[in-house]
Symmetry: C2
Subunit: 213 residues, 2 copies
């Protein structure tokens, strides 16, 4: 455990992991630029993170793409971030960026922030999940109508939201709903960040599903 903590105890490696929480694959240079370190430094950090099982790489030509090793890594990182708590943003640019993140964002493969909490509330009112975020039997039927297929992965999981300090829906169900919302154009990323917004079509769609307030 101490070796795992040591991997995340470095400023640069922590920045890499936070960046990768958007669920996409980044190249080594992108991460180096993002964390403001030399490419050589980034290279060594990536090797260590991969050896530690936190990241996986995907080499393609002269590029080295890396991404989180799976949902279990994302869950661990989110749990640690939530424990540390939100730190006050410095500067106007950072403040508006963090406000956008607080409004709505992806947490690896599912929705988080106030948007994620709104989704949870809607699902609770519909009886899809319990207050503890466990899927009900009628909820499972509801999910299957939206194309959900149970797999080995845990269907539902509570993930503590680090901006709202309240659990939101993660696990296979959370990932599936997020995917469906993107496919239908109901949510859209703001630029290339993790922040997302509910589109007008999304508001309509949520209302039809009975998810809106």
């Amino acid at each position: 455990m101490e070796a795992l903590a040591a991997l995340l105890a470095d400023r640069t490696r922590a920045a890499f992991c936070q960046a990768l929480m958007d669920g996409r694959a980044w190249t080594a240079t992108e991460l180096a630029t993002h964390a403001r370190v030399a490419p050589s430094t980034a290279s060594e950090h990536l090797t260590r993170l991969i050896e530690g099982g936190l990241l996986v790489e995907h080499r393609q030509g002269r590029h080295r793409y890396v991404s989180l090793a799976g949902p279990h890594v994302a869950e661990l990182l989110e749990a640690m971030t939530a424990f540390a708590g939100p730190k006050p943003a410095r500067g106007l640019r950072a403040a508006s960026a963090s406000e956008a993140m607080a409004r709505g964002r992806t947490c690896y493969d599912h929705l988080a922030g106030r948007l994620g909490i709104a989704l949870k509330s809607g699902l609770l009112e519909l009886g899809v999940v319990t207050a503890d975020l466990a899927i009900t039997s009628s909820g499972l039927v509801w999910l299957k109508e939206l194309g959900f297929e149970p797999s080995k992965r845990q269907v539902s999981r509570a993930c503590l939201d680090w901006t709202e300090r309240v659990p939101h829906l993660a696990g296979a169900a959370g990932a599936h709903l997020c995917q469906v919302f993107f496919e239908r154009g109901w949510v859209r990323r703001i630029g290339t960040t993790r922040a997302v917004v509910l589109t007008p079509a999304g508001e309509l769609g949520w209302r039809e599903l009975g998810l809106a307030d």
Copy 2:
């Protein structure tokens, strides 16, 4: 998050936290002896762990008792330990100790190891929990008959077992069952360690509840 990781990235501090996973309060000297460092070193580490919100202290005369700050800390530590995976034990003494831990142990306030998995299987067959470790409505009734009272704390939670690599039952329900088993003398600690065994009375009790295989 990086600050939290830095706290756990030290060999000595990690040993302190692992020791405290038994749920009890330890004195500074006990922890210093356990981790084989000077009392002065232990003192500084404890101060930092408390400032970081991982531990809480309870001063009593010339003693400084410390314990984990709550179930959320225990859950985080267990998640990180499970991620790192079980490391092979060195030496006969260590091997038999780790075998005892694998057979059954407490994970802060609930049961883990093969005993914890057996409990989960029993609860699953009884229909108290689903395969995803969510409490069913009939399961809640069953728990209340054993004196369980719902609180603000999440009733059920999946906690990845670091020896069995399978989730076991944590949360308020897991803690309550563990407490009941201890009160009834169904489980007993081996010495002063985290390892526990099911007593003959426990085997009988589990059978009566329908928990045994």
